[in-house]
């Protein structure tokens, strides 16, 4: 494992499988009456959020607290940032207070990379989403959810997603979730297809390790998992598509379309969903939809990442089997 987690592309297959396996162990902690491990006792983690994201922040905070870390939450609003303080100064101020890890969410692509590589601070940096670049813990929790559902909770240990056909639908252009997922799923051996109107696919996508299709109906029957990406309504004002209705008709997932998916296939969404836009209520509330599971899995994945970056080599949960990729 590296010292930071900036991009899903930085993870090797073995790194990724180790994180997923560790997350399975962490998930067992959630089943206990006391959901807490002493692993990060005395370590301080700051959640440095320059963008509003209640769900991601809460997920990290829950993970940090379950590992007994001291948690500091820093949001840009009402802080020195709104008074013009630079990212560098903010980070150095926090580090001077003795922070061991910085979980950063920032609107500018590359901000976590700069934080980790500019010599500004020594703390470990975990990217909690940067601009339209990466959101690696989201990709990991998505992969975790797929592995559980498509391979199996116990059968999946040590396994990757070789041969699984994953379809991502929606606003790829503006999506850090899509970028992270393409990188990680490719590393884990899955076959990825992106489906979007051509306006919402970036120029340069031809070099990504995936297929691109403009035809959702053609792809659905060949998908083991379909991940719907959020589409902001405002995009139509910038001519990315004509109307909300036309978008839903061509690229939204409704009951009829879901019926064309193989029986075992799941529907995923990173949230927050725009019901009636990319996904209908019928699909969102169906038992094939893993949205709520993804949220629960997010805490386990973030515990695993924090543990592996900060906790050293001691087993996280002593009574379970040792971690590591033991096959192949």
């Amino acid at each position: 494992m590296q010292r930071h987690l900036i991009s899903a592309a930085d993870l090797t297959r073995d790194d990724a499988v180790l994180i997923l396996d560790t997350a399975e162990e962490m998930a067992r902690v959630a089943d206990r009456p006391i959901k807490k491990l002493p692993t990060l006792r005395g370590r301080t983690v700051v959640n440095l959020f320059f963008e509003d994201s209640t769900r991601t922040r809460i997920s990290f905070e829950a993970a940090e607290k379950r590992l007994s870390a001291d948690v500091i939450n820093f949001t840009a609003k009402g802080s020195s940032v709104s008074k013009g303080e630079s990212l560098k100064d903010t980070a150095q101020t926090l580090e001077a207070m003795g922070v061991d890890a910085v979980v950063i969410r920032h609107g500018a692509s590359g901000a976590p990379y700069r934080l980790a590589n500019s010599g500004w601070i020594d703390a470990a940096v975990i990217n909690a989403g940067d601009g339209t670049h990466q959101h690696p813990t989201q990709a990991l929790l998505d992969a975790f959810t797929m592995r559980r559902r498509l391979v199996g909770r116990d059968a999946g240990l040590g396994q990757d997603l070789a041969g699984k056909r994953i379809t991502l639908v929606g606003d790829v252009l503006h999506s850090r979730v899509a970028r992270s997922n393409v990188d990680l799923l490719h590393t884990l051996g899955a076959e990825v297809t992106l489906v979007a109107p051509p306006t919402l696919v970036p120029v340069g996508v031809e070099r990504w390790p995936c297929e691109v299709s403009y035809d959702l109906d053609a792809v659905l029957p060949k998908s083991d998992a379909v991940m719907m990406l959020r589409v902001q309504r405002e995009r139509m004002n910038a001519a990315f598509f004509p109307t909300e209705r036309e978008y839903s008709r061509r690229y939204g997932l409704d009951g009829d379309r879901m019926a064309r998916m193989p029986e075992h296939a799941i529907v995923m969404h990173p949230g927050p969903m725009v019901r009636g836009m990319e996904i209908t209520a019928e699909v969102a509330d169906s038992d094939r939809c893993t949205v709520v599971e993804q949220v629960a899995n997010g805490v386990s994945i973030r515990m695993a990442v924090l543990y592996l970056l900060l906790g050293g080599n001691e087993p996280a949960v002593t009574h379970t089997r040792p971690t590591g990729s033991e096959e192949k």
Partner: protein, 428 residues
Amino acid sequence: MSKILIRGAKVLGGEAQDVLIDGQTIAEVGVGLSDEGAEVVEAAGKVLLPGLVDLHTHLREPGREDSETVLTGTRAAASGGYTAVFAMANTFPVADTAGVVEQVYRLGQEHGYCDVQPIGAVTVGLEGKKLAELGAMHESAAGVTVFSDDGKCVDDAVIMRRALEYVKAFGGVVAQHAQEPRLTEGAQMNEGVVSAELGLGGWPAVAEESIIARDVLLAEHVGSRVHICHLSTAGSVEIVRWAKSRGIDVTAEVTPHHLLLTDELVRSYNPVYKVNPPLRTERDVLALREALADGTIDIVATDHAPHPHEDKDCEWAAAAMGMVGLETALSVVQETMVDTGLINWAGVADRMSVKPAQIGQATGHGRPVSAGEPANLTLVDTEYRGSVDPAGFASRSRNTPYEGRELPGRVTHTWLRGKATLVDGKLT
């Protein structure tokens, strides 16, 4: 004034000759000239060029003296072998009146390191709406002949047409920063494979090419000449090549950084590589070199753009666009054009002195190295190799993309009308 004998220099890279400066002019060029009464500069093995001329410099004064002043900028120019620079108009206040251009011109004269020829804004406040008083700036003491809204594109086709037409009355030229604004909203880097991966807003090549295509056609229609600033794409090269073959009066410049660097460097998210127009691809770089060699692109211009440290020591999106370039330009041109065999030193003189002086009508610059000509000269140790150390820059700013990079060539001497501004690599 005293005499200076430059002994044994390879004039324009040719045979070794002596050049005698007497006062402000070159008195004699030949072999075995007498050194009687002259200070001797031993120049064996070095290349002597006419003083370099930069058609595209940001001196930042007035308004951003924290990044550069006319004094520090012209010292940087002298350090890099320049004897004349054209100062861009995007200062605070904007150089859109006779008053501002005269101020900048006078500061250049007072400091004496390098002639400063101000460029006037095309439109009031660079806003692209209303023509600035181009005639007044031309008639001012600064004698402005080049007009540009650089940093912003004159994107309104009617305003551009009028500007092209209007400056014909006094032989001016409009230098266009070709950037279609709508196609580059939120643009952070070249749009392509790398931007798709990094999630940075794309600056597509077509945003440059479409404006160049429009402007060469406008220039043809109204019978004007037009100059294209910092051309950066292979497609732009093809359009300019086509325009020239059609007889359209267009000239174009390329920056040193676009001859050497590509958008792959942006993967570091280090804003020192953030520049407008953005670094492009390897294919573009090679097309630009070829175009500079075959004359499609007329000149090298630095787009020297100083920024204070804090404007680059931040996340990419928050950083300012631009790189300093005066003190490294000749080395980059040697690396990319001379050492690759694309052009010789006479070609360098043509593209970095003769042609830019012609385009900007800088009298007394870009002249032949021969008797009777003004003694604006640059002596280059072309055998030198060393890594770039920004701490040694004369510029007030340090935002160079070449820090630590080994580059060939070093300017050892610069003479502005017979007065040494740089001696043995040190400013006078």
